[in-house]
Amino acid sequence: MKVIVDSDTKVIVQGITGHQGMFHTGEMLKFGTKVVAGVSPGKGGQKVHDLPVFDTVSEAMHLMPEATMISVPAPLVKDAAYEALDSGIKVVYILTEHVPFHDAMDILYNARRKGAVVLGPNGPGITRPGMCKIGIMPNTIFRKGNVAVASRSGTLTYEIVNAITQSGMGESTVIGLGGDPVPGMDFIEVLELFNADPDTEKIVLVGEIGGSNEERAAEYIKKYVKKKVVAYIAGRSAPPGKRMGHAGAIIERGVGTAESKIKAFGDAGVDVAEYPVDIPKLLR
């Protein structure tokens, strides 16, 4: 089943001539992703990894891309996303960090109007082993399997995916939501997809302190999800009111604490791992 992307998904990279854009385009190509073109204003006519580079997204549309990876400086992200949406791109992955959340809100709500999905900002993207990777997850940690992972964190995702793969299991889909206050998708939206995907048998949620994404996911799981779900929550040790890198990881007003999330998951029958590496044990 198609979960946001599949092996036919064609991808462009906005900001392909930048350091990050160029590197990760190469990695995606190695993974097998059908990257078809790059876009870099003023750089039209160049080639990157043998791919054509265009000045505008609309010039790339004859190659029928469905998805874009946006890797441009934060102040330019909103325009790049609007450009992709205007051209009819349906999956907008934003690699860039430090995107103002008001911009992220504008992008998200306008994407919804146009029936498009936003991944990120400030997340590692989506990986479907054997099919398609859009984003920056390391290629080597995956094995095709039946565990789906959704995560609010980047490196922690790799840690957990690696542990799953090392344990002999494998992944159907791994989605990084992004660590910002206004991510393009939340756990519930991802759970809907995983729940409907016949290739997914077990689900891992990697949450962190701040917000009530996990608490609401727990409610949803209780009602709708029959598949096995396990979780990890980062930030148990974070002192209240301190920022821990992600704007997402602020504990305020007693909401969104690790305790509240762990309790909500517990009530929904979701085992919560003490350590990231314990996830495979819980999945068995």
Binding site: F101, Y109, P138, I209, A238, G256, Y275
Partner: protein, 368 residues
């Protein structure tokens, strides 16, 4: 980024939200002669100033002079007072609460109002609080204010004033990329006018480049945190003894959590981020060393940040700073073997798994 009350009120004034007449001083010399009753308000970025004695009232020249003398340079809940806001005293008939903030669950702005203002909103009973999500595309529209006014049982005169203020407050929220705009209390003055007696404005720290007019002044951070911030690191000081360097906020948090569960006490949070340069690593060590930890844990899952780069950085830092503390390293992911080789040549063993590294550093650091 938190703005001081006087900055918030300058913004309010610009957007025509009524605020009391007033001016800011940074020394007693700037004080204007007394003409009418005033409030002297310490400009510190913390709530509860009133209870902590940071706000004084003056009804004549002598008491004004005394208030300024008492407050300027004093400490309010640990923060030094360098600026005072001298403001016309209001004839407070009633106090209300207004704010607009991001509702992270709905990913929408949310308006919060209460007829019970002047106290912390967390202490107000739920049934006295009006909450309304605002569609970020249509933004504030008058009906939202009508619903709020109805909830607060305002008459048409107050309702009109409230709606005007809310409309402008939403403009401030959007224009300044705010996380929060809060008026607490919004005061009904003796003359029936609604006036913002306080102003709390927090600008999204990712948006400050669009608002260069405000100084990046964050007294809630320690000097070391400010230094780290200026260098671009996500860094938080904690009260333990184990220095931590990791990559990614989630993994860094997970590292702290794992230390804690093993009775290890982290001295700091430091997220290397996704850059791939030895200098970044060396500088990170510099920061962590300034916090004087008993041992240092480096926990890297290589992706954008490659393991060999980190390894080279560790070696360089060790030489440069002559580090005496134990350094425990965990390397996994992209260029893991290359990284481990570099460390080995320099006499450092690196773990490939996180948990053994955590256990090792806790045992090396010893009890607190």
């Amino acid at each position: 980024m938190n703005l001081y009350e006087y900055s918030g009120k300058e913004i309010f004034r610009k957007f025509q939200i009524p605020v009391p007449d007033g001016y800011v001083i940074t020394s007693a010399a700037e004080l204007k002669p007394y003409t009418s009753p005033v409030v002297v308000k310490s400009q510190v970025l913390i709530g509860g100033r009133g209870k902590s004695g940071g706000i004084k009232f003056a009804k004549d020249q002598a008491s004004l002079d005394q208030a300024v003398k008492d407050l300027m340079g004093s400490k309010v809940r640990g923060f030094t007072v360098n600026k005072l806001l001298i403001e016309q005293m209001l004839d407070i008939k009633k106090e209300f609460y207004l704010s607009i903030t991001l509702n992270r669950s709905e990913r929408k702005p949310m308006l919060i109002c209460s007829a019970s203002g002047g106290v912390e909103i967390e202490t107000v009973p739920e049934e006295q609080i009006f909450r309304k999500s605002i569609d970020p595309i249509t933004g504030y529209s008058d009906f939202i204010g009508r619903e709020a006014a109805k909830f607060m049982k305002f008459d048409e005169n107050l309702s009109k004033q409230l709606r005007s203020i809310l409309s402008k407050l939403y403009d401030v929220f959007v224009h300044y990329d705010c996380e929060l705009v809060e008026i607490n209390p919004l005061v009904m003055n003796g003359d029936g006018r609604l006036i913002a007696a306080d102003a709390k404005v927090i600008i999204d720290s990712d948006s400050t480049y669009r608002h260069p007019e405000f100084p990046k002044d964050d007294p809630e951070r320690t000097p070391l945190e400010l230094e780290a911030q200026s260098k671009g690191y996500a860094f938080v000081e904690l009260d333990g003894i184990i220095g931590v360097i990791a990559n990614g906020a989630g993994l860094t948090m997970a590292t702290l959590d794992a230390l804690l569960l093993h009775k290890g006490k982290p001295r700091n949070f430091l997220d290397l981020g996704g850059t791939d340069s030895t200098d970044i690593v060396v500088e990170a060590f510099d920061l962590v060393l300034k916090a004087k930890p008993r041992a240092i844990l480096v926990n890297i899952f290589g992706g954008v940040t490659k393991c060999d780069t980190v390894a080279s950085g560790i070696v360089e830092a060790k030489k440069k700073f002559g580090i005496s503390q134990h350094i425990v390293v965990r390397l996994s992911g992209v260029r893991e073997n290359e990284g481990r080789e570099i460390l080995k040549q320099n006499g450092i063993d690196a773990f490939s798994e996180m948990m053994p590294a955590v256990e090792k550093v806790v045992s090396l650091a010893g009890g607190a």
